[in-house]
Every structure is written in C-alpha cells, then in structure tokens.
C-alpha cells in the first residue's frame, strides 16, 4: 500500500468513527439507543438491512467463490424476494404493532418465558459466533496487506468497531451503514471497470464471458435435485427461502433494522428494497470474481494465493518439492494461456464451427491440466502445514487487488471491505446487546430501572460481545471458505427458530411446552443431519423448521398446558 492508499483508508476510518460517535446525543433513552425512537426513513433502513447482510465476507468470500466455482452461489439468494414478500405481509406489521424491542419478546406473550429465553439464547449463541466470523474476514485481508499478525488484526478491527457501536447505538449503526453502502458500491464499480481495462486488447467482455462460460463458471441455474449439492435451484428456492425467512424474520440483527422505521409501510418498503436489489448485487460481486478468473488466463496467478503459507512451504523442508511443482504449474499456465488466446481468436472470428469446437476442447484440456497442477500445490501446502482443511479461496480477491490495482484504488477497495465488515459487525453487536439487555437483564434481573440505566447496560453488553466475537474470530480464520462458515453457523439454529415463530403465528393450537420441546427437537435433528448425513447445509433450515412445527404441534395436542392461551 502506498501513501495515497493509506490516506484513503485512514480518511474513511476517521470519518466513520466520528460519524458514529456524534450520534450519542440521540441515544439517551432505551427507545432511542435500541430503536432510534422508531423514526428512520425507509431508504436508510433498507440500506442498513442490506449493509448488515453484506459483510466483508460477501466481498472476499463471494469473489473467491466466483473465481473458484463460478456463479452457482447466486442460487443461494433465489428464495429471498419471496421471503421478503411473506415477511412484509406477516412479520413487519406484526412486530411493529406489538411495540417490542426484540422479536423474542412476543414469544413470552404467546407461549411463556422459557420459550422466549431459549430462543433469545440460541440467537445470542449463533450470532455471537457469526459476528466472530464476520470480524475474521477483513482481518485475514489486513494480515496479508499490512503483514500484521491475524491476532493483532482481529483485535484492532473488532475493538474499534465495538467502541463506536457502544457509544452511538442503533442510530449510529444505521446512518453509518448508509454511507458504508455507498462506499461499497462505488468500490465495486471501480474495481470492475479496472479489471475490464486490464484485459488484453483483443479480449472483449463477450470473449471473457465465453471463456468463463466454457469452464462452467457462469452457471446460474442448476436444476439438479440433489440434497447433497450445496447450491442448486431447489436448495436456493426452498432452503434459501427458509433461511431468509428465519434470518430476516427471526434474527434480531435484522428485525431491529425494520423496527427502527417510521411506520409499517416504511418498514415494508425497506425490506422490499433488498428483494429488488439483492440478486443483481450478488451477480455483480460474483462477476468481479469471475472476471478476476479471466484476468488470470492472461496474467500468471500465484500457485498459492495465501502468501504466508506459500512462503513457509517455499522456504521450508519441502522447498525442493515446491520448486518442482511451481515449475510444473508455470508450464501448465503457459499452455492454458496459449489455449485461451487461441480460443478467443476462434470465438471472435465466428468461423468454422469444427475449429471453434477444437479450440474450446483444447482450452478445456489445458484448463484441466492447470487446475490439477494448482491442486497438487494446495495438497503440498496441506501436507507441509498439517492443515487438512487449508483453502486459499479467501485470499484470491485481496491478492489480486494488492498486486494489480493502481494507487488510491487499493485504498478504496480496502476501505470498501472495511465498510462492509464494520456495517455488519456494528449491527450484529447492537442486536446482541439489545437481546442481552431486554430479554435477559431487564426481564430476569432488573425490570423496573429507568431508560438511562438500560442504555448503560446495553453499552456494557456491546463491549462484552465485541470481545467475545474477537476470540471467535481468531478460531474462524483457520476455517475454510468464510462465507460458508457463517451460513453454516446460521443454518444450525435458523430453521428451528423460524419453526417456533411459525407455531406462534400460524398454529393457534400450539402450546408453550410444544414450542419449547419442538425447538430442542429441531436443533437436535439439525445436529443429527449435519453429523450423520451428507445433506447440504441449506436444507438444514427446512429440516429444523419442519421438525419444530410437527413436534411442537403433536406435543401441543397431547400435553395439557395450564398456561395455554
């Protein structure tokens, strides 16, 4: 990073922290600190909803997935628009008119205290772990770019965000989210434009897409019905629908966004904004990853994108093996580059179909040879480091940015990644603090204190959760593709939480014991499915929800419940 890049990053950080801290004056009461006095406009809430979901993992992990696997990940979001419509009809007016601080408050009214406490507890566990992973992603980037240790980076990133969230409350979270989304979009478009400008002159955007398409990287709809396959049309439409319903309708980090809206209508519009924008936005992010793949058809990519691990192996006991594999890899790259140039030439000429098919086959064979050479390099790192789960997916995009972007733009992209991370971390910490304060402290310990007291407790809870998340982040940096890790964490709990809310709203016969035990059965069934089957994690949401509803309903029929309403 050059001086200009540092200036951009520092300017961004100073501005965001100042912007967050100056919101203190609006957060003196509990309603102001946790819900912004229900006064925010739809567009600010809508951008905040998107910023909360769009973490740095989305930028780093998704672009890495675009590079490695292509666009099939976009199917994950196909259930989102329908989920938003369902939530606009049900959850938004429901929670808004109930005048609750947390989604779980309602469960006490409908069932009982222990159901509220258990669901809120599961939210705290899953989100507490999730926010740790969200901190890990930008820390990985910083450790590469700045050469800091991951531990120092995790604490620097996590604690600085914690401080401004503690002080500013939900208004600070929302208004900084708005500015952060603008920076993210601007950074993405600049990045896309520069990648395109770096292609060889004879390679057009169409050629680039044909190259990516030939390797299967533009697959956006996979109609295979296979429960073991993670991203298909069906897992996206069904599993994704359940996940999005649970995430936006039962997860306090999202429910708290639309609870801050001025009215029910403004809350609905804020969610529908995501329904319109989310799939095109994910397409844009994946496209960046796919175009990075195309860029590296003509420029040599490193065999290992994680340069720390690469240096260790290249200079360690297996240096000779590494050297031999790297020579093989460079040869495979040269063969693929020549085949890619030939393929583009034939595609562009629009000539003889047989020659085009031959050029395509030759390119695919060369690409296969290249992938095998890279695979051998990764296998060597796994052996040498003893880390069997090693993957460098998350290192692809930051390495590309640092090595190929001009001065100033590197700073902008790093600022955009910071923005994505901080917008999510701050919202998550704020919601964790809200659930801790309202569902546990106020409900179980001190119900009669004044608003200022709860604001103080909320600030302390934000700080404690921030430190906890930093420790989780240290563990998460050693796991695989970060975006999948977050979604896996979520999928263990989300479906079952959704099941409890479905019982509450849609099953009048449901009783408290049915809901409580149904929730425990649901989470156990998801654990069994993940432990003993190969079912892809998106389906866990469906399994968890259905088990809770069925078990909860059956228990409600058989168990006499004196507190039934």
């Amino acid at each position: 990073m050059r001086l200009l890049d540092w200036a951009v990053v520092v300017a961004y950080l100073v501005y965001v922290i100042w912007d967050g801290v100056r919101m203190t004056k609006h957060s003196g009461s509990a309603e102001g600190y946790f819900l912004a006095n229900r006064s925010l406009p739809w567009w600010a809430v809508g951008l905040s909803v998107m910023a909360t979901q769009l973490s740095a993992i989305t930028l780093v992990g998704t672009t890495g997935q675009g590079y490695n696997d292509g666009m099939r990940f976009i199917q994950f979001y196909y259930g989102l628009p329908l989920a938003m419509v369902i939530l606009c009809i049900t959850a938004v007016p429901f929670f808004y008119r109930a005048k609750v601080f947390t989604a779980y408050e309602y469960l006490e009214k409908r069932f009982d205290l222990k159901t509220r406490t258990l669901t809120s507890f599961f939210f705290l566990i899953s989100r507490g772990l999730g926010v740790g992973v969200i901190i890990a992603a930008p820390s990985v980037i910083l450790s590469i770019v700045l050469g800091w240790s991951e531990t120092a980076t995790v604490f620097a990133m996590g604690l600085s965000t914690t401080i401004y969230t503690m002080i500013g409350g939900v208004q600070a979270v929302t208004w900084t989210d708005v500015k952060q989304m603008i920076i993210i979009f601007f950074g993405l478009f600049v990045c896309l434009f520069i990648i395109l400008s770096k292609f060889p002159p004879e390679v057009s955007l169409g050629d680039a897409l044909h190259l990516a398409g030939a390797t299967g990287r533009l697959t956006t709809v996979d109609t295979t019905f296979d429960l073991k396959q993670t991203y298909t049309l069906w897992s996206g439409l069904v599993g994704g629908l359940f996940l999005m319903l649970a995430y936006f309708g039962c997860d306090q980090s999202q429910v708290q966004r639309f609870l801050t809206a001025k009215s029910v209508g403004e809350g609905r519009t804020s969610l529908l904004m995501s329904a319109f924008v989310k799939i095109p936005m994910q397409f844009l992010i994946l496209l960046v990853g796919v175009l990075v793949f195309v860029f590296y058809q003509f420029q040599p990519p490193p065999m290992i994108f994680n340069r720390v691990e690469q240096t260790k192996v290249a200079e360690g006991a297996r240096a000779a093996d590494y050297g031999a594999l790297n020579a093989e890899y460079e040869k495979a790259f040269a063969a693929r580059q020549a085949a890619a140039v030939e393929y583009v030439k034939n595609e562009g000429s629009g000539g003889d179909p047989a020659a085009r098919a031959a050029a395509r086959d030759a390119y695919l064979a060369a690409n296969k040879g290249f992938n095998e050479a890279r695979g051998r390099g990764i296998a060597l790192v796994k052996e040498a480091s003893g880390n069997k789960t090693f993957t460098d997916v998350n290192y692809v995009f930051p390495t590309f940015v640092v090595q190929n972007m001009p001065a100033g733009v590197i700073g902008l992209i790093i600022a955009a990644i910071f923005a994505a991370a901080m917008s999510s971390i701050s919202a998550e910490l704020n919601s964790l603090a809200t659930a801790t304060t309202i569902d546990f402290y106020r409900r179980h310990y001190k119900p009669e204190a004044d608003g200022r007291h709860y604001v103080r407790v909320g600030r302390i809870a934000t700080g404690v959760w921030g430190i906890f998340a930093c420790f989780v982040a240290l563990y998460a940096t050693s796991l695989g593709s970060l975006i999948e890790v977050v979604n896996r964490f979520g999928s263990f709990f989300y479906g079952s939480l959704l099941g409890v809310f479905v019982l509450a709203v849609a099953v009048p016969r449901a009783r408290s014991r049915g809901a409580f035990w149904g929730l425990l059965f649901g989470i156990t069934s998801v654990w069994i499915a993940s432990r003993f089957t190969d079912i892809a994690f998106l389906w866990f949401n469906v399994i968890g929800c259905l088990v809770v509803v069925v078990v909860g309903y059956l228990l409600s029929l058989t168990v006499r419940d004196p507190q039934a309403r």
């Binding site: 666009m71 976009i74 628009p81 419509v85 533009l218 697959t219 956006t220 529908l272 397409f283």
Partner: protein, 46 residues
C-alpha cells in the same frame, strides 16, 4: 368494495390493494431476473 364502507376502512382496503400489487411486482421481477440469468448462462456457456 361496498359503497357504504366507512372512509378509514376504504382507505385501508385501498392501501392493502396497493401493497398486493407491489408484492406481485416483486415476485414477477424476481422470476424475470432468474430467467434472464438462466439465458445469460446458457448463451455464454454454449
């Protein structure tokens, strides 16, 4: 809508009708986007 419906109820019904139109538009938009992505993928993968 019955003509003797009170004004506030009439307004609420009109509001609901407007929201239903928006919901249908969202779902139709999503189907169109997924369809466009499918053809985009097919065109460049062939």
């Amino acid at each position: 809508m019955p003509e003797n419906m009170p004004e506030t109820e009439r307004e609420l019904s009109e509001q609901d009708a407007r929201w239903h139109v928006i919901y249908v538009a969202v779902v139709v938009f999503a189907v169109l986007v997924i369809t466009a992505l499918y053809f985009f993928s097919r065109y460049f993968s062939s």
